[in-house]
């Protein structure tokens, strides 16, 4: 066991953990951030996707000892009552079915939109290739990413209670 301090969604957390413990389980079992999901444990399904320094990573294979930088999870993608444009687009396009993979889908898509303002279909195919949806919501995921790309304002955030900002 060893002591680590990790910054998650803007707050520092002291964690005493086995150095090999993946970030996924630190988030879920130690910090109670269960929006990040376990799906396969071998970085093949993408349900565990979080951001480290803004890059999409599979937290199920990233040991706590290897985390260097700021971690953002689905719970911290947008501050307070605000929604990320992707979260609003996920609602507007009625994307989720069971919903289990969608945290990871949104986190992968958010990393894509951060790097590519107007992603092409090929950009989406490539950025989202690591995220499996068992319910088959891919058509709406694609539509929602495009909708979010169109809707983004300067801050990149929308109010959760209102319509999209112009």
């Amino acid at each position: 066991m060893a002591n680590y301090t990790i910054k998650v969604n803007g707050a520092d957390h002291a964690v005493d953990a086995d150095p090999a413990m993946p970030l996924l389980w630190v988030l879920r079992d130690r910090l109670g951030l269960v929006g990040t999901k376990y799906g396969c444990g071998i970085a093949q399904c993408g349900a565990c996707t979080v951001h480290v320094n803004g890059h999409a990573v599979r937290s199920c294979v990233l040991p706590i000892s290897g985390v260097s930088g700021e971690v953002t999870t689905i719970e911290g993608l947008a501050p307070g009552n605000q929604l990320h444009p992707l979260q609003q687009a996920w609602i507007d396009e009625d994307v989720p079915q069971c919903g289990y993979c969608q945290s990871g889908q949104i986190m992968s898509a958010a990393a894509l939109l951060a790097a590519t303002r107007e992603p092409s279909d090929a950009d989406i195919d490539s950025a989202m290739a690591g995220n499996f949806c068992r319910c088959g919501t891919y058509i709406r995921i694609r539509a929602a990413i495009k909708r979010a790309a169109r809707s983004r304002d300067v801050s990149g955030l929308v109010e959760s209670s209102g319509e999209e900002q112009a």
Binding site: I74, E75, I91
Partner: protein, 734 residues
Amino acid sequence: MKTTMNRRGFLKASALATGGMMLEFSLPLSAIGEELGTLVGSGELNAYVKIASDGTITIYSANPEMGQGIKTALPMIIAEEMGARWEDVVVLQSPVDDSKYGRQGAGGSTTIPRSFDLMRQVGASAREMLIGAAAESMEVPRGELEAKDSKVTSTSGHSLTFGQLASLAVKQPIPDPDTLKFKDPEDYTIIGTSVSGVDNLVIATGMSRFGIDTSVPDMLYAVYHKCPAIGGKAVSFNEAEIKKLPGIVDAFIIDGNGDVNQLLSGVAIVGRDTWSVFAAKDALKVKWDESAASKDDWDEIVRTGERLQDKGGGNVIYRAGDVDLALRRHTDRTIEADYSYPFVAHLCMEPMNTTAHYKKGSASTGDEIEAWVPTQAAYRIPSVMNDVFGVSEKNVTIHQTRLGGGFGRRGSAEFVCEAVAISKRAGKPVKLTWTRPDDMQHDFYRVAGFQHVKGSLDKQGRLVAWDQHFIGMTRNGEGPSGSRFSPSEFPLLNLPNTRGTMSTFDIGTPCGPWRAPGSNTHAFVVQSFIHELATLAGRDHLEFLLEIMGERRWLEPGNIRALNTGRAIDVIKLVAEKAGWGRDMPEGSGLGLAFHFSHAAHVAEVAEVSVDTQKRLRVHKLWAVADVGPIINLSGATSQVQGSIIDGLSTMAGQKITMSGGRIEQHNLDDYNVMRIAQAPDVEVHFIQSDNRPTGIGEPGLPPLAPAVGNAIFAATGVRVRTMPLTDLGYRLV
């Protein structure tokens, strides 16, 4: 009479009025759920509806939500009949309580057909109580009042909101269900519209809670390691070594009762977090007694299936006319073919899990079990607990969570039994989480199968004889739902000379319902072979298929859940029109058509594919037309068909579970093929909203996919697809 009925009485009356059709259920584990301060001062009109003084209408959804959208669709029906505005509605999952909600389950695309009338009654009853309150308050006759837009308005234009009326409405007599009138569908403002799923906000923000997210005070974490050869018994393991690993609290063998549906033998490891027990599981060295374990071997199963295909015969399950005579008479225009399909896994995104607390009780109260379970069938669990643990059913409390996928997998309770057994030994609440390999290797698989089909054409190229031999599998003599051959399976009832026969052989691998059980493979065989016959006849597939349907009629008069050839013709014609059937296709491209009837739904699909010289297959687009009667949530229903098509294609393209020495050979997503976003086709969905009763759409969109794609591959290449998955034939989905 009606004034003496209390609220519970109303519900019982409702249940009787609908022939005991009450279903539904779930658990407000989600923190968001019960945080409704607005419920203060609310009026509970019945078990499903509460109205707060601020106008918030809370509707409870009773059935499990696993992605099929029922938690949105059922409350839409209630809100419609109430005259509520959808914007005012908050939906919560109801607790599990059969005294209030009847049997709370989901499966077989049955929730909508079973619940539609009850939900209308619930809504209409609430509406009548609100109108009664308004009549009293405004001192006007009920006949001059209308409930609409969450308020009751009089003909003179005076109105009171539902919120204003709530406290008075609960004091109104409960209407006799027989007196309730339902809205004219012409006046619907909610049913038939597109509504975004009620949990989409919590899902998109990571706040929804699935079973695997359960946390209770003092909880430990567990894994359970069963014999890789299904049914083997744990004899011993490296106990001392495992117990010394970091984060491990205990490790022990559970003998179980040998029932794969309840509690198989295995090694339990209990620890302080999920990772510790997962890591310890990897370090396990177990000695197994495999004498009673499955010995299944995929190659041997194939040999047995093929031997039976060649041998023919089987038990006759349906016969019409004289099929042997018809086949003999048209020998020059008779063809036969062998079809087969593999075992596949459910692969729910959320692996099986349960959080359980076994509580020792006193001699007078008895022991208790409390469990948080992502289940399709919470109502079945108490009796299983009684069987396995001897705990009285009344001492079993089940909390139903949201399900990260179901597809038929989550009707069994073995993962509940495992968690309870571990908690009992640990003396604490325990969250059992299956690893992905556990989930893939201890499934109740979609059963594999083999079929041999023969058909004959007359001189005019009409299909006059159909002889279908279905070869399924049983375990301990019992066949899973996917290993059945129904006498009403299309086209046995449509043609003058038909015969259906069935053979089975026993295997050791557990199988169970998998989205559209039976239909998902029957459709592949039947609709592909009909295309083979149309091709032999030199006729257009569309015209050939319509001819088989014949006159517009119910094939089983009096059974409204049977095939209606008129409805079939309508969906087939419309899908052909939408897809531009008959248009010229470029070299290497083709259109394929298929129809299937299941779950009381008529569905036709057309696939457009292209195949290159390296057998790279691109499925460009699917058109689907379904008749499931009136649609409740257009967005949700469309999503189910899109998802079914992608599920069907993902499965057809590359999925196959094999076994050797009773051991499942696939482990995880690195050796089991699933479709990714780049391969997903465009899907265009249309509904024919006939005046039939609404029926379910969670499953029937799937079966026509495989034959539509197979027939399109033939159209593109001239090569027939008679087995799945396509990777076995050298195709690669791109």
